[in-house]
């Protein structure tokens, strides 16, 4: 029935044509009468006002930390306080100046395995989602796809005015960002990695980072009087 498996991809696909056509044929024959898509749903009505407090409370509820800051120098100060013992730091944010430059990036960055010993990764996210504390970033901002996962601690920097209310607004925003092209990989990241597989006991730090810190950038903030 099946020909040799050591032949290349092209031959394998021809082998599969039989199944492809029979599956599609059966599906087409059996699919029900046309049902139209529902009207667009844009989320709950009457959501207005500053989304920051909601975003912050959700991120904290899911095990992340949030800092509202006016600029990158504040970020560096806080990172030095929060992560005093980090050795290897990789940053996707050019504004971190000496903090990231003080550490050495591993040679051969093209191989994702080289990032296995990263303690701290700082990446810029496109926007945040208030209803679930998630941040969105595409692979262009990840340095490497594996970096946001393989690092022991993840830091995301997002503009405070780039928080949207729900996932509906999120995908509208993604459509704007991606107009004229589209990412090869992207992700919503909400909090540190976690599991509750052992008797429903929540443990932060499963296979991805053990911690997630979000910096909300707002240049209009004064240095005094923020979180």
């Amino acid at each position: 029935m099946r020909r040799s498996r050591v032949l290349g991809i092209g031959i394998r696909k021809i082998e599969n044509m039989g199944s492809r056509d029979s599956i599609l044929g059966r599906v087409k024959a059996n699919q029900p009468e046309q049902r139209e898509l529902p009207e667009d749903h844009a989320g709950p009505e009457g959501v207005s006002g500053d989304l920051t407090p909601r975003f912050i409370s959700v991120v904290e509820a899911i095990g992340g930390a949030v800092f509202l800051v006016s600029g990158f120098d504040r970020i560096v100060t806080i990172l030095r306080e929060q992560f005093p013992e980090v050795r290897k730091v990789v940053s996707g944010c050019s504004q971190l100046g000496s903090f990231a430059a003080a550490t050495t990036l591993a040679a051969g960055l093209g191989d994702p395995h080289g990032l296995a010993d990263v303690d701290l990764a700082i990446l810029p996210a496109h926007f945040g989602v208030a209803e679930n504390g998630a941040c969105w970033l595409t692979e262009g901002r990840m340095v490497e796809r594996v970096l946001p996962l393989i690092t022991q601690n993840l830091v995301l920097v997002v503009r405070r005015d780039a928080i949207v209310a729900t996932m509906h607004q999120a995908y509208a925003r993604i459509a704007e960002i991606e107009a004229g092209g589209s990412y090869g990989f992207a992700a919503f990241i909400a909090g540190p990695s976690k599991t509750a597989d052992i008797e429903q006991s929540l443990v932060l730090g499963a296979h991805g980072p053990k911690s997630l810190t979000v910096f909300l950038l707002d240049e209009h903030l004064s240095d005094a009087g923020f979180f």
Binding site: R26, A29, G133, I150, A186, F188, I189, G191, I198, A206
Partner: protein, 456 residues
């Protein structure tokens, strides 16, 4: 003779304290779901929207599948089609062999459970490491998962501690979830870093863009895929959504329904392979296209595998996933499995009181409890009812269609209960094992009515 749900559930119920623990744990998850849903003002609108999007998907499935294939192929993903479980397994094996890979990491995929992929690969010399913590636990224990989202919900932490002590060398007696999770982190990190092939499931695939989404809390799907030379994604053909924006609806519903979280930690959107990587997707039929043609049952193909129905089902909570002897258990499994093998799974639609709670928690509004009822009719009509039951039902039908016979039978039954109680109060009467029978009154309501009211 394999045991059916009733027998397996009876075994499960021998340890009442354990049943209480299992039931309380899953009810806790149901309660978390309720709290999360209550925070979403448009929750019921979302359910209706998701349901109608999935109705649209099923009615245009062939077109959406073609579109998905075209887009994914254009983006550099190799698309495969598997008519059944055996073909799926062969395809996965052939991809691995092409890359001379004999060790692979795998993140959660109920489809691969359905196809029994692990056993097949093992028999063909390929080591598979399940990287979801719950799945790793059951893999080390050499048993199937009992829940599609919480694979080892039936394991106590002391038992996991003992298992890890044996397999991972953790200290004996350590049952601390934090410690055990950390041990698993180190153990599995080594696998991620050394395996060249990773297999993941697919939560949603988008016809418009050819991308697919994988949702995890642990990050294990990403750790595997982003470090591997070959990423194989396996997907049931029904897992499509029409456009990327529809993901907003489903991602708002999925995790709240499953665990009560607003969203999983990672919702990873895979559209193109990493430069230098090969990405494959296997589209699997395995009976779905046939099921699509069943007017009464096709709605079950809308399922997004959240397991909310498991957590709310009072029978599942008190019988455990293994009592269903199928890859996907619980209420949804009871209406999907008969499609795969009517005879083998003919007990499952009867493992229910038809309470209807499942249908109410389903984020895509599958009429689960109504399908359970309808499957019962099919199973009996196809000749799968036990002979004794059929005879009893025919008798019942005759008695209940003949008032004279019914009245006489009722009088006789009550006479026996009153005067010769051991005819019913004995160990052959299943009711009587753990319950008292109702007292038999001297007269029925009908008798009373005749004496006390002039009518009739």
């Amino acid at each position: 003779m394999n045991k059916d749900h009733a027998a397996l559930a009876a075994d499960f119920n021998k340890d009442e304290a354990r049943v209480d623990w299992h039931d309380e744990t899953l009810w806790f998850v149901r309660a978390k779901r309720d709290r999360a849903a209550a925070q979403v003002p448009d929750w019921e609108v979302l359910r209706e929207t998701a349901s109608r999007i999935k109705d649209n998907v099923l009615s245009n499935l062939s077109e959406y599948l073609r579109r998905f294939e075209a887009e994914a192929t254009r983006n550099g993903i190799v698309v495969h089609w598997a008519a059944d479980a055996a073909e799926h397994n062969e395809i996965v094996l052939s991809i691995l062999r092409n890359h001379q890979v004999d060790r692979m990491v795998k993140s959660k995929s109920m489809l691969t459970e359905e196809c029994q992929l692990n056993e097949f690969l093992h028999a063909n010399g390929v080591e598979v490491v399940d990287t979801d913590l719950g799945e790793r636990v059951v893999q080390l224990a050499e048993e199937p998962p009992s829940h599609i989202v919480l694979p080892c919900i039936h394991w106590k932490k002391e038992e996991i501690g003992e298992l890890f002590h044996q397999h991972l060398g953790t200290p004996k007696g350590n049952a601390d979830p934090q410690f055990l999770t950390h041990a698993a982190r180190l153990h599995l990190r080594e696998k991620f870093l050394t395996r060249r092939a990773a297999l993941t499931g697919v939560n949603f695939a988008v016809a418009e863009t050819g991308e697919f989404v994988v949702c995890t809390n642990e990050g294990n799907a990403d750790m595997g895929a982003h470090l591997a030379d070959v990423h194989i994604a396996c997907m049931g053909i029904e897992k499509l959504v029409p456009e990327r924006r529809h993901l907003g609806v489903f991602l708002r519903l999925l995790t709240r329904s499953a665990t009560g979280q607003p969203i999983t930690t990672y919702s990873s959107h895979f559209r193109k392979p990493r430069p230098g990587q090969e990405m494959h997707i296997v589209l699997v039929d395995n009976g779905r296209s046939t099921h699509l043609g069943r007017k009464d049952f096709r709605n079950s193909l809308k399922c997004i595998r959240c397991a909310a129905c498991f957590n709310t089902c009072p029978v599942y909570r008190r019988s455990g996933g293994h009592s269903y002897h199928t890859a996907v258990a619980g209420p949804i499994g009871s209406i999907l499995s008969p499609n795969l093998d009517l005879k083998k799974y003919s007990d499952l639609p009867f493992a229910s009181t038809l309470c209807g709670s499942c249908s109410n928690v389903c984020p895509v509004k599958i009429d689960i409890h109504e399908q359970l009822y309808k499957w019962r009719q099919v199973i009996v009509q196809e000749g799968n009812a036990p002979a004794g039951k059929t005879a009893a039902m025919k008798t019942m039908s005759w008695v209940l269609s003949n008032p004279g016979v019914y009245h006489k039978a009722g009088r006789m039954g009550r006479w026996f209960m009153l005067n010769v109680p051991f005819t019913v109060k004995n160990r052959f009467n299943a009711w009587f094992h753990q319950r008292e029978l109702p007292d038999a009154p001297k007269q029925s309501f009908g008798d009373w009515y005749k004496k006390n009211r002039k009518h009739g």
